[in-house]
């Protein structure tokens, strides 16, 4: 695959999640897919789908805005902004009706055109503070 093709997978990965309101899309993930997101335990595709589903359920208008995409070899880095409104139960936190905007980054390792590994960080503290469940 060309660098341009690998680079295109990064934004697609997240835009597909917005389209599916969950995901990630199976066709973009390798069979041995693993996601490391924040301090959470490593997740396979099924676990990541469950994790994402909880987010889209709690934030039905959740969307990713891609800020930057950088590719080098078999890695693609995506900087993005997550926005959503908390209208459903989230990790035991009842809906606050508040909006949140947080920065995030993901590094995808692409093998044979599919994401084999995702390492992501997002501002979970900022998210909880914007929801008013952790003091600033």
């Amino acid at each position: 695959m060309s660098t341009a093709e690998i680079k295109s997978i990064g934004p697609r990965f997240f835009k597909e999640q917005d389209r599916l309101r969950g995901g990630p899309a199976e066709e973009l993930c390798a069979s041995n897919y693993v996601a490391h997101i924040g301090g959470n335990p490593p997740m396979n595709l099924a676990a990541h789908k469950q994790f994402a589903g909880a987010f889209y359920s709690a934030f039905p208008d959740l969307n990713h805005t891609i800020d930057d995409t950088i590719a080098d070899g078999d890695k693609v880095v995506v900087r993005f902004t997550l926005r959503g409104t908390h209208t459903g139960n989230f990790m035991g936190i009842p809906a606050t009706k508040k909006s949140m905007t947080v920065g995030a980054i993901a590094i995808c390792h692409v093998v044979n055109g599919k994401v084999a590994e995702l390492r992501a960080q997002f501002d979970q503290m900022g998210m909880m503070q914007q929801l008013g469940v952790i003091p600033t």
């Binding site: 924040g38 301090g39 880095v77 990790m91 995030a104 980054i105 390492r119 960080q121 979970q124 952790i134």
Partner: protein, 140 residues
Amino acid sequence: MSSKNVDVLRHAHQAFNAKNFDEAGKLVAATAKVIDHGRGLTMSSRQEFRGWLEAFFAMSADLKLVEAHYIDGGDYVTAQFRGVGKQDGPLGPFPSSDKPFSLDVCEVWHFNANGEADEGHNYSDGLGLAIQLGHIPPPA
């Protein structure tokens, strides 16, 4: 073989570990914009960036960046590393816990033609850190 920009960033991280903030501060241009997304902070100059670096050691005197990996995107360099240490000073509103921590960090830096970073983004899991240190209970 890594690019010059990767070498500059690696050198800055090594200088940070040596608590040489003047040297680490040379990473950025005089008017660089650096955003700490994990804490909602924006630095708009080399001087503010230097102060941001130094402040980490008030939280953890033995803080070290370890296991750094760099992704060379030409004008952009991405770094992945862990910050490890013991929280022997305040972390925002939280007092010293005297507990060890390991914090995953990602950074993206954009370099100008002079080989100085003019924009940087730092991402870390502040919530996970507060949970690790016992300041916030883990989610139910």
